[in-house]
Amino acid sequence: MMQTIFFVFAAVAVGAAINVLVQKHVMYSALSLILMLTAVSVLFILLRADFLAVIQVIIYAGAIMVLFVFVIMLLNLPQDEDGADRLWWLKFLGIPLGLFFLFLVIATLWNVESSVDTRAGISGSAGAIGHSLFTDFLLPFEATSLLILIALMGAVVFAKKDL
């Protein structure tokens, strides 16, 4: 049962990701990405990371992608990119390289002693994550607040009309 769910949503994720690359207009790519995020979120649930799954949908798909869509709509882009591809040869270089990379990874993992997942090991609940955040990872946690502040200021500065 679990396996079926896994395969279905894995396929959806991969398909959506490929679709991101295939689409001509960037708006469709963004929407495709939202689909992928949701599929991955389901996979999170399978891995007993319920809090993360929810966060993924709310924050990632719900806030970040919305931001993307806003910007795309703001810029009012035309259908496709102008001119011929100056680096047209990259496609031909990149694809075999990437496939080789993939081959390496799979070759490694095929021989890995795969232990079972989703055992009664951890609970990915909000409480567990929160506990860890506020004890073991307190400093990074506080630091991220600073990071967000800086990103905020940066975004505001960059997007101003007159810099």
Partner: protein, 100 residues
């Protein structure tokens, strides 16, 4: 049960697709989307390992990756807007002034 290797392979595949996006797409926003795909693949891998070793810290790390992805997306998009305002084009190959 689902062996953890499958999740890892899925993560690798997604990562690859994200990397390929860089080679194929020329639109700057599309590049940012590819980055998001790659980050997601990494998140998936982290959570898989977290489940394998029964430790919560993998998931906590995903939390941080999320924060960083958000900030980076915000700043990146602000940059895209600024570039678009100056050039009227989002072709990343047009922005090649940092060459030798």
């Amino acid at each position: 049960m689902i062996p953890v290797g499958w999740y890892l392979i899925l993560g690798a595949v997604l990562f690859l697709i994200g990397a390929l996006g860089f080679f194929i797409k020329r639109n700057m926003i599309a590049l940012l989307l590819s980055i998001e795909i790659m980050l997601n693949a990494v998140n998936l891998t982290f959570v898989a390992f977290s489940a394998q070793h029964a430790q919560i810290s993998g998931q906590v790390f995903v939390f941080f990756v999320l924060v960083v992805a958000a900030s980076e997306a915000a700043v990146g998009l602000a940059l895209v807007i600024a570039i678009f305002r100056n050039r009227e084009s989002l072709n990343v190959d047009r922005s090649n002034l940092l060459k030798w």
